[in-house]
């Protein structure tokens, strides 16, 4: 047998030790394979293995990477769109064809089509997808109550109803509107020759089963026919939804005529509203004046004609503030008045943008999480002058709450159209307009830290209050909500108090220690309990009214996101004064490092003025 050279022996030993290292796993092999390091070769192998492992380490990505990717993705999409527009036909096509082509894209993006009317899912699910090219002024109004003497109504041109084709109109996304304290979400809107269908629901209703017959708690939608056919709810020309049905309701009214659609006046009835005063927009900390060359008079929210609404025309150049491109549009309504619209497109550096009066009067701190379903982007909302509070009009939009803040360098590819509508008497003196974009929100957990909150948890627990559009009604939970109260995409409360519907506490279970018993069963070093503490402040502030405690046991891969199952393990906890209660939490066999305790139906009352969270806790 030929003698092997020293080098060959080293190689063989190296190979063997390497295999043993791998067989034992890279992290544990050294402890289990100590014997193989008795030779020089295995020592070499150890050094080599350690050196390679040390050399090949995770490296943090540069900060610019995400931005580069986002820009490239946006660029590639833009190129796709541009390629689609560079056809010879496209350059010669008439306006209606442009609209039709755009509508086709809308249909592709949003899955909306005439055929969709008969398909499954809600209208809102089908009628999404917005294109930046949508600039047609079409109106939608909401009327509260019945008859011509109903409460204030408003009209939102450009809210995102676009012509799908000459025979159909669709909405480009849900819109939340507020009328006399009632928030209405128009989830979807489709109108074709067969009818006009809307998916609508009312939100922020405290007592859903009460006063169902109260007319003022119902909401009637009237198609804007141009013939003043409002006030008739028994002829199938209108659609009434009531507050005892908080679920999304799809209602159908007769189709708009082809002439209406052609004229662009297909919408819903519009009624006089109240003066709004000057228009202003302010950016947080940096108020600035912006004259979009559109306001030649005091801006007043005035009656908007039912007549056909012409296409809006651009007013002046857009200005960019705080990441937003603000652009004014106007359309002549009637009687020498202008319907002024402000579009804000972009991603604001502030998480909330507020349009309000120029005099910077305190506004109602309205910050709606759009539709209570923060997974929807873009978020768009509209509020209007509230005669009860005699407050100015404000509108704004915000980024969805549960998501992480927009990373630096990222861009949102979808335009965020925000529309404010004012009718401007054109014969008034010119008034300089300012824009107020306000940051009206900050993180809730800054105010609801564990030490300040009505409850505290022991053992290093940290409080996480989720405020992303959940609402608990005072009354019994409607059965369709679901027993756990967590899955229902309820709306964000807009009431005198802010109520958090679900909260969770992450409890550090401490280090595992081993029992001194015979079986050596690992046990936790800390008790499996949670101390709830609440107090009744003299002013009624910050009260944990009630809660049941459970464990979040699983997350489902189901839509919408954040669905969790809260297994209730504790009885009702009722806050009847100062006190605390220790709740023992059965932790199961999984023995995770931490457990998440959820509260079912807790109601934390925090007196206003309140703020909304800017980002996920």
């Amino acid at each position: 047998m030929p003698r092997r050279s020293a080098s060959a022996r080293d190689d063989a030993a190296l190979a063997a030790s390497s295999r043993r290292l791998d067989a034992g796993g890279p992290r544990t092999s050294r402890a289990t394979d100590a014997d193989m390091y008795q030779t020089a070769a295995t020592s070499d192998a150890e050094r080599i293995d350690a050196a390679l492992r040390d050399r090949i380490q995770p490296i943090a990505a540069p900060d610019t990477l995400a931005g580069r990717v986002a820009a490239e993705v946006a660029r590639s999409r833009g190129a796709t769109l541009r390629r689609g527009r560079r056809t010879a036909w496209a350059s010669r096509r008439p306006a209606w064809a442009t609209a039709l082509a755009a509508a086709v894209v809308v249909a592709l993006l949003g899955g909306v089509g005439l055929a969709a009317m008969g398909g499954g899912g809600t209208i809102g699910e089908r009628a999404r997808g917005v294109g930046e090219w949508v600039r047609d002024v079409l109106g939608v109004g909401v009327r509260v109550g019945g008859g011509q003497d109903g409460e204030s109504m408003y009209w939102v041109p450009g809210m995102g109803i676009v012509p799908l084709d000459p025979a159909a109109l669709v909405s480009t996304g849900p819109v939340t509107v507020t009328v006399s304290g009632r928030n209405v979400v128009i989830e979807g809107f489709v109108s074709d020759t067969r009818g006009t269908r809307m998916a609508v629901r009312m939100v922020d209703v405290e007592r859903p089963s009460e006063n169902a017959a109260d007319e003022q708690r119902s909401l009637t939608l009237y198609p804007m026919t141009g013939d003043a056919q409002f006030g008739r709810n028994d002829d199938q020309l209108s659609c009434t939804i009531s507050t005892d049905l908080i679920r999304t309701q799809e209602c159908t009214v007769p189709p708009f005529s082809a002439a209406q659609r052609r004229r662009g006046d297909a919408g819903f009835y519009v009624a006089p509203a109240h003066p709004i005063g000057n228009l202003g927009v302010q950016y947080p900390g940096q108020p600035f004046d912006w004259n979009p060359e559109l306001l030649q008079a005091n801006v007043q929210l005035a009656e908007v004609a039912e007549a056909g609404l012409p296409r809006a025309h651009r007013l002046g150049a857009a200005v960019v503030r705080g990441g937003l491109s603000l652009q004014g549009w106007a359309a002549e309504a009637d009687g020498g008045r202008l319907a002024v619209r402000i579009d804000a497109v972009g991603v604001p550096t502030a998480d909330y943008v507020h349009f309000t009066t120029r005099d910077h009067e305190p506004t109602r701190d309205i910050a709606l999480v759009h539709d209570g379903r923060p997974e929807l982007r873009p978020t768009q909302l509209f509020t209007h002058y509230d005669p009860e509070n005699d407050g100015p009009s404000g509108m704004g939009f915000r980024l969805p709450v549960p998501f992480e803040p927009e990373p630096a360098g990222m861009v949102t590819e979808t335009a965020l159209p925000v529309t404010a509508v004012f009718a401007v008497p054109t014969d008034r003196d010119a008034v300089r307009a300012t824009v107020r974009v306000g940051q009206l929100a900050w993180k809730v957990d800054e105010h609801l830290s564990p030490h300040d909150d009505p409850f505290e948890a022991l053992d290093g627990a940290s409080l996480v209050v989720r405020t992303a559009g959940r609402q608990i009604w005072d009354g019994a939970i409607p059965p369709w909500i679901g027993w756990n109260g967590l899955d229902y995409p309820a709306s964000f409360p807009l009431m005198a108090t802010l109520r958090f519907a679900d909260a969770s506490i992450q409890i550090d279970r401490g280090m595992l220690r081993y029992s001194t018993g015979d079986n050596g069963t690992p046990e936790l070093g800390r008790p499996r309990s949670l101390l709830l503490n609440w107090r009744q402040a003299s002013d009624g502030d910050r009260v944990l009214q009630s809660a049941r405690v459970g464990l979040i046991t699983s997350s489902l891969w189901s839509w919408p996101p954040f669905r969790r199952i809260c297994d209730v393990i504790g009885g009702d906890l009722v806050s009847d004064g100062n006190g605390d209660r220790r709740v023992f939490v059965e932790l199961g066999k999984e023995r995770p490092d931490s457990v998440e305790v959820c509260f079912v139906q807790p109601v934390f009352v925090v007196r206003g003025p309140w703020t909304m969270p800017l980002s996920s806790p």
Partner: protein, 216 residues
Amino acid sequence: MTAPSMFAPGDDILVARTLQGDGHAFGLLVRRHQDAVYSLCYHLSGDAAEAEDLAQEAFLRCHAQLGRFRTDAPLWPWLRRLTVHSALNGLRSRRGRPRPVSLDSAAHPDQGALDVPADAHGQALGRTEAAAGAWHGGVHGRIDLERLLADLAPTDRAILVLRYLEDLPYADIAAALDVPVSTVETRLFRARKRAGELYRDRHRADVEVQHAATKR
């Protein structure tokens, strides 16, 4: 990978939202996986700037091919495989071998890095002093892995990276690279053997230097 926060949506949800056209969701995916993708690309290319290009390309491919992803499976193995293939293709298209990287600079960026990412963004994740010591082992124990890695073919380097960066078993490495397990074993053995040779060369040189110093 950055662990999702308590309320952060899972990869499956972000994938679904991305497929629905939500660019923000894809941005979150990028942020969540960018360190892992970049690490792979960096160690495959040996160059920070090139790694960023490769990582960008990998994410773009991910975005383009996301519809093929089976949402009932974890995203990272799919993205990892896509990243490796994308990076290898990118390196082949550049017709060049990875630029050498100073091991000193990788372990100690303040000691004269060549192409190791700067401190601003290239801080090694999870590196420990003990690990650094295991590598250095004093002057005599230094191995010129710089040469080793630079000499390896891209695929062999990928095997090494997947082995030591991801702690992948042979079977998973083979699956990620579409090569047989035996190939992984062979190439890993060769790489280690080559490292051993380099170590011995270096050790011999160090000993000779020591002897010379003693004689003086």
